[in-house]
Symmetry: C2
Subunit: 457 residues, 2 copies
């Protein structure tokens, strides 16, 4: 009965919930760019105020990076810690957006209304599904449904440098019976999903230096080494002609998928053609002997995320540049060790440098892949709640992205994590014109209300 009233309240107050989300979306909390540090701080303040208004004891904690928001509230039942992040990705290339990324609006589309803005899906819209579910409980019952901690960070899109030290320093304050993380997606547009495997991530930027200054290619071309030539030769060999990564030892700690999981994945109605077709592609680009689902969920990758050097402006400049730069990242699976992979990659580059060319590496960092404890009782409760809301059994799936927080909750606080989210594949997260479907936001809020009823009911 209470749950029905909570769900009705959610339905009746959806417009106000969308308006609140837009308030958060207007804050350009880009964590990777120091120019937006004050905006990250403002987003944290905004969330502290929201949580305090729900009866939480909420605080903003200063870190060497962007602040952490921690809020405690409610009593009884299993103690849940809810995690999300208020920071967002950069917005370039800005000219591909059809509206200001920080001036959100509800837009009508053939698939229904969407909230358009940077962070609409990743992760501001998603974290607000949980906040709005709690708000509805509080409005209907006068109290929070059970003991809850909310923990929101502002560095997820920039490697979370302050996170592990913060977890260690505030372990007693943060430890709960289960962590709940809302930063993932549906399996298909209308099929809810619970993540059971997460890929890890290792990344590094590096600079190749040839001549000690930019040169005129007429005067020096042919005799002086061009670092872009070295860069393309080395990174052009990062994959072999079967799509396998060539860094020595890269696959040493990669396990084959257990047969039951492989069988379950084969049973999922994953539309490979549509997955690639949605982004203008048709041929899977990964290892030749793997399915696309394996490529994105259970196989490691190497990607060049950025590469630049020489003259990149309008017109032409026949320069022979002094430097070439690249940002390379690896998605990791199984037991792959980020430090070992990064060390092997750096050695692999050094071994290929010609005389007269040197390399400098910047900020190597990484986190391993994660595997969830699906025998934790909350998994069955969550699955049941999701099935109630969506009318479809929730899928246990892998996740190609890296959400290192799940691993850190386990290693630092001994907490298992449950990853549920309501994003869609076409949300364009990290890309221009990011959006979050109003339907996902709405049913996401309802899903959390049902989940809270099952956990704390």
């Amino acid at each position: 009965m209470t749950l029905d009233a909570v769900l009705d309240h959610i339905d009746a107050n959806l417009p106000q919930a969308v308006d609140r989300l837009m308030g958060l979306l207007r804050i350009p909390s880009i964590s990777t760019d120091p120019a937006y540090a004050a905006d990250c701080d403002r987003a944290a303040d905004w969330l502290v105020a929201e949580l305090a208004s729900l009866g939480f004891e909420a605080a903003k904690h200063v870190t060497p990076g962007h602040p952490m928001v921690v809020a405690h509230g409610g009593e009884g039942g299993p103690h849940l810690l809810f995690y999300g992040h208020y920071d967002v990705q950069p917005v370039d290339p800005l000219d591909l957006w059809h509206r200001d990324p920080f001036d959100p609006a509800v837009e009508e589309t053939p698939k229904g209304p969407v909230i358009r803005a940077r962070g609409a899906s990743d992760d501001k819209g998603q974290l607000m599904t949980f906040v709005e579910a709690m708000r509805a409980w509080k409005a209907v019952t006068g109290r929070l449904p059970g003991r809850l901690t909310v923990f929101l960070e502002g560095e997820e899109e920039s490697g979370s440098p302050s996170l592990v030290p913060f977890l260690r320093a505030h372990a007693a304050d943060l430890r709960a019976d289960l962590a709940v993380i809302c930063d993932t997606g549906l399996f298909e547009d209308t099929v809810p999903a619970i993540i059971t495997m997460l890929r890890g991530l290792a990344k590094v930027e590096f600079t190749l230096q040839g001549p000690d200054k930019d040169l005129h290619s007429g005067m020096y071309g042919g005799a002086a080494i061009n670092p872009l030539r070295v860069m393309t030769r080395i990174l052009g060999g990062l994959h072999d002609d079967q799509g396998r990564v060539t860094v020595p030892g890269f696959y040493d700690d990669v396990d084959e998928l257990p047969e039951p999981i492989r069988a379950q994945w084969q049973g999922l109605a994953f539309d490979h053609a549509k997955f690639l077709g949605d982004v203008g592609l048709s041929v899977p680009a990964g290892e030749a002997d793997r399915t696309p689902l394996e490529m994105i969920w259970s196989r490691p990758t190497a990607e060049i995320n950025g590469l630049w050097g020489g003259y990149t402006g309008a017109g032409f400049k026949t320069v022979l540049p002094a430097q070439a730069h690249a940002k390379v990242s690896f998605r990791l699976v199984s037991r792959q060790d980020p430090e070992k992979i990064l060390a092997s990659f750096q050695n692999w580059i050094r071994a290929q440098l010609p005389a007269d060319c040197s390399v400098t590496f910047h900020d190597p960092e990484g986190s391993p892949a994660g595997h969830m404890q699906i025998d934790h009782p909350a998994f069955d409760l969550a699955r049941a709640a999701l099935t109630d809301e969506w009318g479809r059994a929730a899928a246990y799936v892998g996740c190609g992205g890296s959400i290192p927080i799940a691993g850190w909750f386990k290693t630092e606080l001994g907490m298992d994590a449950l990853l549920i989210g309501f994003g869609r594949d076409d949300d364009r997260i990290h890309s221009p014109n990011e959006k979050y479907d109003v339907a996902c936001f709405h049913k996401g809020i309802r899903s959390w209300a049902r989940f809270l009823a099952r956990i704390h009911g």
Copy 2:
């Protein structure tokens, strides 16, 4: 006697000549960037006024691009056409300049005073050597030494798109007995040089397109093709492990150096170690079986002048980009045809594209290599004039750069060209902190005064 008076006048008025050059250097006439079009126009006006003050009938001619300056003056003797260019290269990366590139100053250095500014050497300082020589003749004798045409363009650093149509439309106005081009360098710091071979240039920009939007490497990494992976694989194969360019047919029209030229070059005291050491290098990077002098004067090259794609800002963004871009140019020699080379390069790229990746080429253009007529009588006169000034016999040398105007003067106007310049290898043309030695400027003016005395005397 007259020549001595002219040389004395030059010596006595050097500070004023430097001041005038600084006036021209203050105009940021970057031709490749449309934002500086008004500045290019202003530079043309400045030169018209200077030439008019010397008694020339000078005019600025509007073109679809930047204006041409044409000035006629003097009477008698062989009719010389003097060519230079008033446009300059872009200045990026601006943070590597130790002063504003358009706020010129004379700086003291261990090798003597230099004029520091974009264009100080290429080509404003050089073109002003000729103007100042004429000024001295006019000041001492009351008239120009003989019949002279001055022809200055503003598009040399951006491919001279208006030049050939202008030569055709104004052929009668521009045809002279000999073209004199001042846009090259000394052989060594104190050895004058006359260019007898010039490399040609072919260049093209292109874009590889993979997905139709930027993707999240967590969601799509491994399954979607990354155009930076394709770009590095293709351009990483542009040279083989012997340093040879792999584009099919690239060497078909490359002739071996005639034995007498090779012998003469071997007699030149070219310090390979110093040439590379000046820019922080030690190992010649070109074809393994060629000398550095061949690499830069008589062998063709392929260079990546610019390459970019993905996230290139501060921090990290795990994007899988939709596009990758490159600017590639070729230095051409012998009978290499720019159109044939560019077509072969484009076909070579297309043939290597995977499914799901397309290419668009932008603005392919080029000009062939040039070979001077050293049996023209002016060559001996020029050599004698240079030897008088520098106390060293002028070297007949090749030039790694591309000065297509020499070829166009021949094909469009039937005019031979004499290329003499006073730049030094360490002038940093096209690079940050470009400079022109005051000594080069001074002796360059004196060299032209001596040359005019020999030609018109």
